[in-house]
């Protein structure tokens, strides 16, 4: 290697990074929360719900924030696995954690994989509108289908879902379920973080910016999108199963456009393309909803206030709450190989 290459490899000093600090603070808050909220069990339930919905938000984040796939039907891959594990509990009396959570992920993966083949793998390049409408239609059609299907409880959904078991232990609402949800979120986050910072993440960053350019490099762009979409569906499936067990209920609304839209809003509100942003967005929106619903003065029209706040953020701060602190450069990241001490390229 020439001297100039070595010099260039060292490169200029890198800008200060904010995201790792946000990640550490968020993790610390999540670890402390159940102990700080110990005297208010309803808040532990709310916090658990935030963690589960954060997993759903992360699944949308991988689609939109990292791959430019506008999935308006992400709840479909959340709701269907939720129904499947509820039915397995009811009809087969099986709810063991090592069986049902992987089953839910497999259902999410297969369902989103089938959708991915339909949406992405064709001769023509699908437009963003086609993807948005295709996923929205899937979510809407599934909601309508289960609403009229007695076997799955029709409009009432399925309730009294068998508790999640690990050996003899049964997970009920509370601290144990909170840490189970936190463990799942952490695992999903770390895998997503690893993938988005790998060379695969570089391809996705390229896809977001100029899909056509990547195709002319030799990338089968639609295949990459299909893989990410299917992986995101698997993650949503895990969230759907946790939600069913935690709430003891799953209904048509949990796979419809309403929840799908919330996944979009969680992500945009917190800041797409950061991974941690959608988690902060989910927590902010869910906590704000809880607080506003409890204030006498606004409890009747709090959804309107929440809607206005979301509209203002999305309109005037399109990079979300995290965009206030994190530069665009840091969000996109760098995929350059940098030598460690005593190491040289080659």
């Amino acid at each position: 290697m020439t001297a100039s290459v070595v010099t260039a490899a060292a490169g200029p000093s890198r800008p200060r990074r904010v995201l790792p600090v946000v990640e550490i603070v968020t993790l610390a808050a999540m670890l402390i929360a159940p102990f700080a909220l110990d005297s208010r069990p309803e808040l532990v339930t709310l916090a658990t719900n935030v963690l589960i919905l954060s997993i759903l938000a992360l699944s949308f984040e991988l689609c939109w924030g990292y791959s430019g796939i506008m999935s308006f039907g992400q709840a479909l891959f959340f709701g269907v696995p939720g129904y499947v594990i509820a039915l397995v509990g009811r009809d087969l009396e099986f709810s063991h954690i090592w069986g049902t959570l992987p089953l839910a992920m497999a259902v999410g993966l297969v369902l989103s994989g089938v959708f991915a083949i339909f949406l992405f793998i064709g001769r023509r390049t699908p437009t963003p509108i086609f993807i948005a409408l295709g996923t929205l239609t899937g979510s809407y059609a599934a909601e309508r289908l289960v609403s009229g299907w007695q076997y799955v409880g029709a409009g009432n959904g399925l309730s009294s879902i068998k508790l999640l078991q690990a050996g003899e232990y049964e997970f009920v609402e509370g601290t144990a379920f909170y840490f189970l949800a936190l463990g799942c979120l952490l695992a999903v986050y770390l895998v997503s973080r690893f993938l988005t910072r790998s060379q695969l993440g570089l391809v996705l960053a390229g896809v977001r910016q100029n899909e056509e350019r990547l195709a002319f490099f030799g990338y089968r762009v639609q295949l990459y999108k299909a893989i990410v979409f299917a992986f995101a569906g698997m993650i949503a499936g895990l969230a759907g199963a946790l939600y069913s067990y935690h709430q003891g209920f799953i209904g048509p609304g949990n796979m419809g456009p309403g929840l799908s839209t919330m996944a979009v809003i969680y992500c945009l509100f917190g800041g797409a393309g950061t991974l941690i942003g959608p988690i902060i967005g989910t927590a902010s929106i869910e906590v704000l909803s809880y607080v506003l619903a409890d204030i006498d003065l606004v409890k009747r029209f709090w959804p309107v206030i929440l809607g206005l706040v979301l509209l203002l953020v999305v309109t005037f701060q399109p990079s979300g709450l995290l965009g206030l602190f994190v530069s665009a450069r840091e969000r996109i990241g760098s995929y350059r190989w940098r030598p460690r001490r005593g190491e040289s390229g080659g």
Binding site: M1, T2, S4, V5, A8, A9, G11, P12, R123, F194, L195, R197, S198, Q199, L200, L202, V203, A205, G206, Q209, N210, E212, R213, L214, A215, F216, F217, G218, Y219, R220, V221, L223, Y224, I227, A328, R329, I332, S334, Y335, R336, W337, G345, G346
Partner: protein
């Protein structure tokens, strides 16, 4: 057998016949220029060869493979590379990452998830940047480069995987005379390993670097052959140089 062979290719857009029975052959390691007045079908032909759109009739073969209806990624994997007319670098990625992205295009999807390729690719990335005088700007965003530097970056990206053929659509558009001269110098060394098919308006530039020329007018070939011979062809003078 020619590296690229275009046989009787036609392209119709609604009522417009943009290409009509075009035949073209490009040999390995040769520099072939494609010229003609505005609207003559040069870019349409280049796009049909690259796969940006498909020919309505005729066949295109590349390195022994029929690619007439192959998608762009398949053509790229066979060793064809394209530089767009409008600069298409990835502006929000660093200059380094732009090259790395081009370089790793041949890797299987699963291997990219583990990032083992990053360290191995590093010397090649730096070599490509050095060759196009961009090593000092490796960490800058591609969008921060000057227009000429962005054109070089895109040529470096197109050449990163050592293609058998490079298609260049007006590479010197918007460049200063110095940058044009430098571009010609930067392209010369690739002749040893790569053929070049170039669409260009700058006749002086194309005469300097191309061995053979094809002249298009109204979607049809007017003349094709060694550069000197085509330059002297009266039909070319009438069809193209009169417009220039």
């Amino acid at each position: 057998m020619s590296l690229l062979s275009v046989q009787n290719v036609g392209k119709v857009f609604g009522a417009l016949r943009a290409l009509d029975g075009v035949n073209l052959a490009v040999e390995a390691n040769s520099f072939h220029g494609l010229i003609g007045p505005n609207g003559s079908g040069k870019s349409t032909l280049l796009k049909a060869i690259a796969g940006a759109h498909f020919a309505t009739s005729g066949t295109i073969t590349f390195d022994g493979h029929d690619i007439t209806l192959a998608p762009p990624y398949e053509r790229a994997r066979l060793g064809m590379s394209l530089k767009f007319q409008i600069t298409a670098v990835l502006p929000q990625l660093s200059v380094y990452d732009n090259i790395l992205l081009a370089l790793q295009a041949g890797q299987p999807v699963w291997s990219l998830g583990f990032s083992k390729t990053r360290r191995v690719a590093h010397p090649n990335v730096m070599r490509a940047l050095e060759r196009f005088r961009l090593a000092g700007r490796a960490d800058d965003l591609a969008g921060e480069l000057s227009h000429g530097e962005q054109q070089w970056l895109e040529i470096a990206m197109a050449l990163a995987r050592e293609p058998k053929m490079l298609l260049l659509d007006e590479p010197t558009a918007g460049m200063s005379p110095q940058e044009r001269r430098a571009t010609g110098e930067l392209l010369q060394p690739i002749r040893a390993s790569c053929a070049l098919l170039i669409v260009e308006h700058d006749l002086d530039f194309i005469k300097d670097i191309c061995d053979t020329l094809t002249v298009l007018d109204g979607g049809q070939i007017v003349a094709s052959g060694p550069t000197k011979q085509v330059q002297e062809d009266p039909r070319v003078k009438e069809a193209y140089l009169a417009h220039a």
